[in-house]
Symmetry: C2
Amino acid sequence: MSAEAALAYARAHRAQAVDDLAALVRYPSVSAQPARSRDVAACATHLAARLRRAGFEHVRILPTRRHPVVWCAWHRARGLPRLLVYAHYDVQPADPESAWQTPPFRPSIRSDGLYGRGASDDKGQLVAHLAALEAYLRGAGRLPVNVTCLFEGEEEIGSPSLRELLLRERARFAADVAVVSDTAILGPNRPALTYALRGALGLELDVLGPAAELHSGIFGGAAPNPLEALASIVCSLHDAHGRVAVEGFYDAVRKVSAEERAQLARSGPSDDTLRAAARTPVLVGEPGYSAYERTTIRPSLSVNGISGGYAGPGSKAIVPARAHAKLGCRLVSDQRPEEIERALRRHIARVAPPGVTVTLRRGMTARPVTVDRSHPAMRAAAVAYERGFGTPPALLRSGGTVPVVGLLRELLGIPVVPMGFGLPDDGIHGPNERMHLPTLARAVDTCIWFLSELARDRTRPRLAGAVA
Amino acid sequence: MSAEAALAYARAHRAQAVDDLAALVRYPSVSAQPARSRDVAACATHLAARLRRAGFEHVRILPTRRHPVVWCAWHRARGLPRLLVYAHYDVQPADPESAWQTPPFRPSIRSDGLYGRGASDDKGQLVAHLAALEAYLRGAGRLPVNVTCLFEGEEEIGSPSLRELLLRERARFAADVAVVSDTAILGPNRPALTYALRGALGLELDVLGPAAELHSGIFGGAAPNPLEALASIVCSLHDAHGRVAVEGFYDAVRKVSAEERAQLARSGPSDDTLRAAARTPVLVGEPGYSAYERTTIRPSLSVNGISGGYAGPGSKAIVPARAHAKLGCRLVSDQRPEEIERALRRHIARVAPPGVTVTLRRGMTARPVTVDRSHPAMRAAAVAYERGFGTPPALLRSGGTVPVVGLLRELLGIPVVPMGFGLPDDGIHGPNERMHLPTLARAVDTCIWFLSELARDRTRPRLAGAVA
């Protein structure tokens, strides 16, 4: 069987995958820093050349307003499913570099990790697919299904160009199912398959009071205080029990079955585990749900930041002129960011005290995603994890958001399997990020098994239709 | 009469007063900046020498932990009142110097103003007393009352050494009445005598939540959020009508008579005037009082600043680990800062939500001061203003705080007359600060008349006893 040939090739070329990862890490492809734009472009060029060497004949560097998408396709498996593989080659900034044991863009292998910025997020996960695809192309002479790769260069800055590109070049990305590898599993021997991700809605709140900062001696007690107004708005967002008190906020929340809740209780973290991880004496939140449920099957509204007035040392006797807050909602199916934004606008207009002007700006939005666990692509992923890691994956909901999952789901109308290979202690976004090399090897094998399992499902219409 | 001789001397030496002010402005005596310590000391040395030249035989530079007090005394008016004259020779920082039309420490005369840092706050007001005292000593050969001068070098950093110095050298500062010149009048032709100042209590509030910032995807909806906790504490400080909702806050507030309220309504600013000055569409605050009353005869509690969580551009999906607020109370007689602090501590302990730790740190404190308007020294000041400016002063309460007034009142047990000469548009603490030179001339004459009027009251025990 061709899977065996691919696995044999991959095993014989473990060192090649590590070299490929090291080569990618050497590019400081920091998408957020304009000074690194050339490095991002050089990384894309390198990646495109590497995909050609892997056996892809159709490779393109697709320009966007900022950083290009690297695209490649192999479509010779007539009648078989079409898979879209997503990963990103851009990375977070590495500052402060002084916190790194070895320089962030000089890959360094220590014990069983390859250290460097982007090693785990997301160049290592990209390399897992690259190695799996090359193993099939070189070891078996073909892929078991049709594959299109979308390797993005703007994920760490919120994918500003991806929507436009997908709309413009819809045909280029047509597929029956997508796999997104940009998430984590539970541990080296604890694979996990995430079937739901929360959506997100970021809002920035500006509260304007007096035209300029006032002396609190002359005006304290009579002038409207935008910080106090902001505090009263923030207070109104939750009731005394921790439930969001914005009218309509929960209207579209899909009820989760007792069976699924029981399964989540078995496979998800306990309240004690989450409490210890949060390093807090108590957990809080909506009554009637476990902490894991509050962060997965229930939406939340958090204040991420407040600023206003004097923030230096000591005191300054003022009535501030303005106050600012950043709010972040996490949404669950079938909440839509635009509806929640409207509900929040209505709520804030209703509760804003007199004397201040409140404006709301929308930040990041992402739709929640739930993938039907019984979908053939999800079953294929579960089998692949089990073969790759020797143990079946936990089926989890994540409280986090991977915007591209929702975006692919929305624009391409296909199910998206979040099949990640990061470890919780990889240190992504921080100093000394690493990819755990034994996990990289298992990830390559898992990707091979995933391709192989997808090919077993010859019923393309069923694959495409079973969208959650 | 000796007052006439002093006035004649002062009129003949108007240019000298301007030169004296210019000479003082040349010293960058910025008490807050350690790099300017030598300049502060040099300014003190200059001032001490100048006081000797004015005719004071007893002049001392009294060291403190940071910046010295310049002290001088003339005590030859046996049986007559003893007056303590207070002003300060240190200044606010002048940054950014680029905002100044002429350099802040190079005095420049434009139209009828002398521009430079400290010209009005407080070197100009200090020079008014210096010129008046010299006019008596040189023009009349003596002072009409006993005078001790206390020229401070730490006012702009909160007078950290003054309490200790006054306690240590109580005899050196013994007096029957004090005059503090560090406030403003209403306009060039609108003198004002302030008979009440609000006290102050600054508090810094730290709210600690999770041990470190958390990912809002993983923990949003379950982990305690210190910013939300802080907002709920801030909300609890006022009721829906704007009245402070802290138990006991108003207990010690002295009721003001209907007669005084009627007088304040006549002489103080209207709601419309204050609303326009605050540049806000509406005023708010405690029901049952005018805006001027809310800021003078009623205490207030303002939030001066809040910070916590992410404050950079865009959004960051976190549950913050901590939040910080600065609160500022303005107090009225007979509220005591320490009692209000206890009431606030009790209140916050009661309302703080679970999962966070709240700590309170005390900042600046100052007692409220009310001076009996019928006190002979107050009457002397009113007469002096009327003669110096040609029109009687408005009798006002100020919503602001001049801590040294309360401090002298508390430690020396004598009435303190706040007799200021700044103008509302002098630009103190900002760029292009100036002293209005016609007002400086009137201030010198007013100081002369004040000394003269004090001398008319031969009943020292009565002067000392009529403390409000």
